[in-house]
Amino acid sequence: MKKILLVVKREFITRVKKKSFIIMTVLTPILFACLAIVPTLIAQIKSDKEKVIAVLDDSGLVAGELKNAGTIKFVNEIKPIDSLKNSLLKDDNYAVLHIEKSEENEIGNITLYSEQAVGVDVLSMITAQIKILAAQIKLKEYDISVEQIAQVLNPNLNIKTIRLDEQGNEKASDTRALMGLAMICGILIFFIVLMFGIQIMRGVIEEKSSRIVEIIISSIKPMYLMLGKIIGVALVVLTQIFIWIILFGIIIFVAQSQFSDIVSQLQSYVGAVSFTKMLVCFIIYLTLGYLLYASLFAIVGSAVDNESDTQQLQTITGVPLMIGYCMMIIVSTQPDNPLAFWGSMIPFTSPMVMLARIPFGVSWFEIIISMTVLLATFVLFTWIAARIYRVGILMYGKKASLKELIKWLKYKK
């Protein structure tokens, strides 16, 4: 037991001390924060310089109706278009908007002249304004007010979703938000399991290819070495997630104004039963799912000599994980699909699929069965992995096939 702790400590410390770990841990939240904050910041630091657009309106319908927006200012002109075009090149006007005359009460061709390319935001702003004007002109013809149209197009409807529990009590539920959260959790599980599973595989290959392993297993049983590695990496995962949560907390706290939406949403979740259920399930499924796949990746690592040989076996390990990921996406839109039930029971996919089902209501009974199956499979596979591992780590010079792995499983010791 003391020896496992030594292995855990080594695995943990060497990984946490790595530059890549520190960079990943610190940079990820900052990167996310940047993605959220930077666009708003950029919008704020836009130049304050006024951009004047000269409007020559031959139809007489638009001029005077265009509203200035941001730094864009519309100025009506009556000079002929050619002189406006000429002056555009000379003076500071940003663009010239020419609206041709068509039939009565009808906006004709519109042309925007400019020296530099006009930004998409400016173009769409002008288009939107003119569209509304055109619509208003038409509506006036039919004698309908804009408000009336708005009522027709956007009737004030609000669908409340209320779930009945077993006692027939009503509970308001906002499934959409929870669904989003479930997807995030599921995706996190997928990536964490894959990323750290591969780390374990690499660790095993490192020990094998640099021939350390025989020195170590003359002091410690291979099974304990493997467990120590799996637990050590698990602690790394948990540390990273813990630091992320803290950093996200700090970022959200510091830039509260930017995240007011998220903060208020989070506040509305915390304390809700389904949120707690989700959090508990996330942590348990993440841990168990990781442990199960970790032992599979340990087998892959022990079966090969170097990383380039892992392709075939890595695929066999990765496919169930991918299937689980796809199932999760399907289940999030079709919770009644039979796939949902079986996917959330089969241990290789259940960590992700079950999380996707939780927002739609899953009884604790089902969850506990699914977790028990997952736990049992993890124990079984760790046992299998340990048996293959202890043979595999001493086999040099050949890439083992699946058939050989099964043969190793049967070795006595």
């Binding site: 020896k3 790595k18 020990e207 640099s210 025989e214 020195i215 003359s218 002091s219 006595k412």
Partner: protein, 304 residues
């Protein structure tokens, strides 16, 4: 006997790695484990280290049946050996020492002592990838012997060392023997076997084909060939020797004559001396004892 194996059998999927192998390793001796590649030496060593278990047969260590805690009393330097490349030398040595049951304090204390002895203190904070192969081997050697094990197992310990370091290592191995450690020594280098081993076992094709004290074995494999330098008449000498001997070689040097003979029926050197001493002055008398190299090749070739 510090170590005794009894009728060890180990079967792998399609070949028999060890076939009824028994060895007895006396305390405070250096015991050579010899044999061609693939003969089963490494399997036997792994069984002693409890890395694998035999299918049948028993291993006794220090008077009791080999048990899990015995790993603390055994030091093992495998043939295929390495270190974590990205870890610092000191940290890594501490890790291995602690896996062998030393406390943090003891591990550091004796590591510092050995680093000083090998003059490698400056490496403590270096990463292993910065070391040369020979340097890394030194670190591995220290890690192997650090916990003062009763039994040390070295598998090809000298590979990768320059002659100066080979000498350093030999001296340390002999020192360890003096201090009461027992050393099992597996190698293909027969010259070093003759130099430092007290006993040997030769394993060929999964079987123990030859075991015993090294001088005894070499004498037993002697072909009764003698080399004599003498002054005197050759004819007279030949007459005295009689028909019992076959002359392999003879020659004339500036001040003496040389002859090499082989006894057809077994006879001691003394008997031969008494035959020739009457009429010749013996300058040099030598029984030619086969080298371990010759014995090794002879046994393995004959077994084919």
């Amino acid at each position: 006997m510090i170590l005794r194996t009894e009728n060890i059998v180990k079967q792998y999927a399609n070949h028999l790695a060890l076939d009824n192998v028994s060895i007895e390793v006396p305390q405070a001796s250096i015991y050579g484990l010899l044999g061609p590649n693939g003969a089963g030496k490494t399997t036997l060593i792994r069984i002693i280290n409890q890395i694998t278990a035999p299918d049948s047969g028993k291993v006794y260590f220090d008077g009791h049946k080999l048990q899990e805690t015995d790993v603390y009393s055994i030091g093992y330097l495998p043939e295929e050996r390495g270190l974590y490349k990205k870890m610092k030398v000191g940290e890594q040595a501490m890790y291995f020492a602690r896996l062998k049951g030393l406390t943090k304090h003891d591990a550091e204390k004796s590591l510092r002592k050995w680093f000083e002895k090998f003059e490698i203190q400056a490496w403590w904070n270096k990463k292993v990838e910065e070391l040369s192969k020979g340097m890394a081997q030194k670190v591995q050697f220290i890690v192997t012997i650090l916990h003062n094990p009763k039994l040390l197992i070295f598998d090809e310990p000298f590979s990768g060392f320059d002659p100066i370091n080979v000498n350093l290592l030999k001296t340390e191995i002999l020192n360890l023997k003096k201090q009461g450690s027992t050393i099992i020594f597996s190698t293909h280098n027969m010259a070093s076997v003759e130099e430092i081993c007290d006993y040997i076992t030769l394993i060929n094709k999964s079987k123990n084909v030859l075991s015993g004290q090294i001088d005894e074995i070499r004498h037993n494999y002697g072909d009764n060939v003698f080399e004599i330098d003498y002054r005197g008449e050759t004819d007279k000498l030949m007459e005295n020797i009689g028909n019992n001997y076959q002359v392999l070689d003879s020659g004339e040097q500036k001040f003496f004559r040389k002859i090499k003979v082989k006894a057809i029926t077994k006879e001691t050197g003394n008997a031969l001396i008494s035959r020739i001493i009457k009429d010749a002055e013996i300058i040099n008398f030598n029984e030619i004892i086969p080298s371990m190299n010759d014995i090794f090749i002879k046994i393995v070739e004959d077994d084919k």
